[in-house]
Amino acid sequence: MRDYKELQAKLAEAGYIAEESLAMALTLATEIHRPLLLEGEAGVGKTDIARALAKLLGTRLIRLQCYEGLDANATLYEWNYQRQLLSIRAREATEGADSAETLENHIFSEEYLLRRPLLEAISQLEPPVLLIDEIDRADEEFEAFLLELLADYQVTIPELGTIEAVSIPHVVLTSNGTRALSDALRRRCLYSWVDYPDAEKERAILAARMPEIDDELARRIVGFVQQLRREELEKVPGIAETLDWATALVGLKVEKLEDNLDLLQASLICLLKTEADQRAIAPEVTQRLMGKVA
């Protein structure tokens, strides 16, 4: 088995700064072909992990965004109904009436099959990275279905028969914890809790994404965000918010955070996404937090 530190270094090259535990999780997941379940607050970079992994392995990333009411049809396959109907009409017009059986065989052939992410993922020659994003948004029925798929890697389509996986994809599931996942799914998966990065790691991320940013400014930005995360907020700012804010500050040509406090206060809309949070972080609070950073 490869050393997880090696993977960690490679991830860093691919632009993703990973914790050791996460690197270990990814190494294990690729090694023993188990799905990896990533849990953590929104905005800690769970989705990006799958992207970085795909980049690193040099394969395709197939993404399935979950939502409430997602069903097997939307994730596996669907028949191309419009084409089926047109084809029925066209055959009527040109060849006269077909027997029902011929017609059925024709319109339920692979030609009319629309592959959705899960079927797509198991029919690739090169194992792709399959990202099942926000699995907690889908309902329990879908979770059970997914569990079945992840166990056998085969899909049965009544009209076509059983389709077996050409290759086993690297599966990454993410969850924001809006719903407790079933124990069965948890047991099937490797698990990693992804936390907000510490200051050092966040600086590294900022440096990787925005190489042009001034070191001192980056240090202040990260320090401020880290302090802000300790406040009681409804929606804690994630890494994406830090990056947005840094971009905004650079765009506003801010060189030192404390230079223009009004501007700083105004720019906080990049970090605070609810009205209550914006009210909670009043200018005095901003100043107090700034004091801790300096």
Partner: protein, 404 residues
């Protein structure tokens, strides 16, 4: 498995397989959901590590064996406790004793949750501790129960204040009624699915299938709809001293709600908050209560309702509550904290939950007015406030939950 490192990272005897099995058992005792297949998986993983260092093994097993955030946070301590003997004396040792000789070794802390268990008809306190130690069974046979019910036992039991039920048979009956009530309620709620002939969207797949016989002309249109989802229930149960006369029944009531219905979640609070869904759903009721007593260990002092709610709001609310959740709080509202705090936390809770129902056993008492300051502050945020001092009152909860 890789040979134990030369630095003595993994202790050798009694063989790696046995040690790993022991480790899995150790984690299981601490609430991890693991089985024999995880033992094999762990051994396989350790074997695959090139140069297994303690840290590497720890990190790899953490990924493989944890299933949620709580596991994730506790794993390191448990790992070090098992393999390196750090902080070995843990609660699970105590748990073993509880389950094997429960009657005799019933710890004093149980009294908070299970007050009238084996003290038939006797006043709480006094010689209670001494009788506990002797035997519960004999106590029950001693015919000292003062609340004999003459006519229709079941009917009058229905109206008795739970505080006054104390004979053993009565307790058993009350448990049964509470459980069946809860089950009935659950049944009613979870069946709230309407099969509807006219759905929102066309089911194109079935339509085309069905109409092949008409040469593909869509004559019969089939529709589909999503069934209604059942309501979710979150129960927050106060087990503080002032509530202890009621806690046991509420626990049984809550257990009845939980057993087979997946979408319910239960928490106990006193000075802190503990999630007890998993412990309560244990098939063996005795083991369930033993687990509970362990979880309540360390509770003491006054009730911190607001603090417990705050804990719930920050830690659990996001995954326990959705917009179809009814939050049921069972408490007498005697809070040692500032009432504003309680009001604020209830308001926070209200933004997430569909409905908040507060059941207060004191409300059933004659002449009770919600004078507890906390209770007064809480009232504006509560959708339904009612008594819960008798089984009848619990039964009256049903329409409240169904009316969603």
């Amino acid at each position: 498995m890789a040979e134990p490192g030369e630095n003595g990272a993994l202790p050798e005897p009694p063989g790696p397989r046995e040690r790993m099995r022991g480790f899995i058992a150790h984690l299981r005792l601490n609430g991890f959901t693991l089985g024999p297949s995880e033992t094999a998986l762990s051994l396989d993983i350790v074997r695959r590590l090139d140069r297994p260092t303690p840290d590497g093994v720890q990190a790899a097993l953490k990924v493989a064996l944890c299933g949620n955030r709580e596991d994730w946070e506790r794993f390191d301590t448990l790992f070090r406790a098992y393999w390196f003997g750090e902080g070995v004396r843990r609660a699970n040792i105590l748990r073993g004793e509880n389950t094997s000789t429960p009657k005799r070794a019933r710890p004093a802390l149980w009294d908070k949750v299970l007050p009238p268990e084996d003290r038939a008809g006797r006043p709480i306190g006094g010689a209670a501790q001494a009788t506990n130690a002797s035997d519960g069974e004999e106590d029950a046979e001693a015919p000292s129960a003062p609340h004999r019910i003459a006519a229709d036992r079941r009917d009058s039991l229905f109206k008795t204040d739970l505080r006054e039920i104390s004979a053993k048979e009565d307790i058993a009956e009350a448990e049964r009624v509470a459980e069946s009530l809860a089950s009935a309620m659950r049944y009613r709620l979870s069946r709230r699915r309407k099969p509807s002939a006219r759905g929102r969207g066309l089911d194109l797949r079935r339509t085309i299938r069905r109409n092949i016989a008409h040469g593909g002309e869509p004559v019969d249109l089939l529709k589909r709809t999503r069934p209604d989802r059942p309501v979710r229930i979150v129960i927050l149960l106060d087990v503080s001293g002032s509530m202890k006369l009621y806690s046991r029944y509420f626990l049984l009531f809550v257990r009845g709600l939980l057993c087979r219905w997946m979408r319910a979640d239960a928490y106990l609070f006193h000075t802190r908050l503990v999630r007890v869904t998993d412990a309560l759903t244990d098939k063996d009721p005795f083991r369930a209560l033993a687990k509970l007593s362990l979880m309540i260990e360390g509770f003491g002092g006054g009730t911190r309702i607001a603090g417990a709610l705050e804990d719930f709001n920050t830690r659990y609310a996001k995954q326990a509550i959705d917009s179809r959740t009814v939050v049921v709080i069972l408490s007498d509202g005697y809070d040692t904290e500032a009432p504003e705090h309680l009001a604020r936390e209830l308001k926070r809770l209200k933004t997430r939950a569909r409905r908040i129902v507060w059941l207060n056993p004191l409300l059933g008492w004659k002449d009770y007015e919600p004078v507890a300051r906390g209770m007064a502050a809480a009232l504006p945020h509560i959708d339904h406030f009612s008594a819960a001092n008798s089984l009848q009152a619990l039964a009256a909860l049903e329409p409240e939950l169904a009316a969603l």
